[in-house]
């Protein structure tokens, strides 16, 4: 019997407001470019929040045929493109035995929200009494996972995780655990969200936590989150399998931890976050002083950012003043269930290229967020290990640890 296996990332793909693939996205993160702009969709004039990080000029017919478009909600479309990029980079083919021991686990919070929105509008507002026969298979949260499994012939463990803003991190953590435990040889993992539609934003407006002008994580004058959309998908592969075929390894996934605050449905807890951060380091066998960078949850709300900084300060002690922590949500927005997947790209860039993506929109220091948040400009730094934080509404926390390959 063999012990735990190491887990390599051998492919990455994305579609988000910063780019249609990984190189474009990383270039934007290096430049500190902002993907947030006025929203464009039907009935936007009835919203009080009218900004977001939207995937502009998206034409499904450029990527998919008629039958696929009939079945792919926007979140599935983003997922499929990201998955194709990731699998192409990995060089893997899943024919035969490999497909039987490989699977898909993806995160999303809203699933096919555009499909819900369009069809509710049809029956409630327009008074129609008939909807398209594929509404259910199009809107279901596992639609993207299922279409990825069908596209590539992945016949092993496959499912969708929904834990609001932590969905992707939970998904990738489970994928990591399955490969490490030998339950799967390869897992496609990550997540997607496409919540930028009238009903999606109208629901969020109600909570009064959204900014109407900009996402400024950790800045004293921050005034809320800004939503984004898109997908990120990665190939998590058994290290020995990847090495044996001479695959390029982008990074190693080394640890994962989850926790629940068990406290409040929306207000975060520093203790819950800290337990997930410390747990991920323990799972990875890393000491706090080995972590060079954290991709923060960093939503830009008053509550999250100060709570997260308190959790990091407590988990890292004196080393908290030496590590770098940034929120790339300031650029690609908050992709809700897909956010951890796009943010993992910043972690890989830090490890591979030695470039730390900045927190843009940073204007005023906040004594309650007194960490090096890499304000406004990317920075060069050689880091050997990183964390990626995700803390969801409902108090569900998921933190991943990665090492340089």
């Amino acid at each position: 019997m063999s012990g735990p296996r190491r887990v390599a990332i051998t492919g990455a793909g994305t579609v988000n407001a910063l780019g249609r693939d990984v190189p474009q996205t990383l270039a934007a993160m290096r430049e500190g470019r902002c993907g947030i702009s006025p929203l464009e969709f039907r009935d936007v004039e009835r919203l009080s929040v009218r900004i977001g990080a939207q995937v502009r000029d998206w034409r499904a017919e450029d990527h998919f045929n008629r039958q696929q478009i009939a079945l792919y909600d926007r979140f599935t479309q983003f997922t499929m493109l990201a998955a194709k990029q990731a699998v192409a980079q990995s060089g893997l083919s899943f024919q035969g035995e490999l497909g039987l021991c490989s699977g898909v686990v993806l995160g999303t919070a809203g699933g096919g929200l555009n499909t819900w929105d369009e069809n509710y509008r049809a029956v409630f507002e327009e008074g129609k009494n008939r909807v398209h026969p594929f509404v259910v298979p199009k809107l279901m949260n596992n639609a993207a996972t299922s279409h990825v499994s069908m596209e590539f012939g992945l016949r092993g463990p496959s499912f969708t995780v929904a834990t609001a803003c932590a969905s992707s991190n939970h998904a990738m953590g489970l994928a990591f655990q399955m490969v490490r435990a030998g339950a799967a040889r390869v897992m496609l993992s990550g997540g997607a969200e496409a919540m930028l539609c009238f009903g999606g934003i109208k629901a969020w407006e109600g909570l009064r936590v959204m900014s109407r002008d900009a996402c400024r994580p950790f800045s004293a004058n921050r005034n809320g989150m800004v939503q984004g959309e898109g997908a990120g998908v990665f190939v998590f592969e058994d290290w020995d399998h990847a090495a044996a075929r001479g695959a390029e390894i982008l990074a190693e996934v080394v640890g994962f931890a989850m926790s629940a605050d068990a406290q409040d449905i929306v207000m975060p807890s520093a203790q819950g976050a800290e337990r997930a951060i410390a747990g991920a380091m323990r799972d990875a066998g890393l000491n706090p002083d080995e972590i060079g960078y954290i991709n923060a949850h960093g939503t830009g709300t008053a509550a999250n950012d100060k709570t997260e900084c308190a959790a990091v300060a407590h988990a890292f002690g004196q080393h908290a003043d030496r590590l770098l922590i940034s929120s790339t949500k300031s650029m690609h927005g908050h992709l809700i269930g897909g956010t951890g997947a796009v943010e993992l790209l910043a972690c890989i860039m830090a490890l591979r290229d030695g470039i730390i993506a900045p927190t843009i929109g940073y204007e005023e220091p906040d004594p309650e967020c007194a960490l090096d948040v890499v304000p406004n400009q990317a920075r060069e730094a050689r880091v050997g290990a990183v964390l990626s934080n995700a803390f969801a509404f409902g108090g569900l926390n998921a933190v991943l640890a990665l090492k340089r390959a």
Binding site: L207, V209, T301, A302
Partner: protein
């Protein structure tokens, strides 16, 4: 016997009292929502109820309550702000 329409004051007090699970008589003008036991989520829900009751839009961002044009420092301030918004609506 006909009943008169409850005043703006009484309707707001009733909304906050329901949220705080208190008797309306316990809602004093100088008390803040927090002192009455209304937390941030309860406050957002109360503001929604007030908007619905008076058909107004209240400018309130939970991230920077002190910067909002809507003063929530006390019951008296909330009532005054709602009366102003109703007057502005015309």
């Amino acid at each position: 016997m006909s009943t008169s329409t409850p005043s703006i004051h009484d309707r707001i007090v009733a909304i906050i009292a329901e949220q705080a699970m208190l008797d309306p008589a316990q809602i004093t003008p100088d008390a803040s929502p927090a002192e009455l036991g209304v937390d941030s989520l309860g406050l957002v829900e109360s503001i929604f109820a007030i908007e619905e009751a008076f058909d107004i839009t209240i400018p309130f961002n939970a991230n920077e309550p002190e910067k909002s044009d809507f003063d929530i420092s006390s019951m008296g301030a909330i009532i005054a702000a709602v009366e102003r918004l109703i007057a502005e609506r015309g």
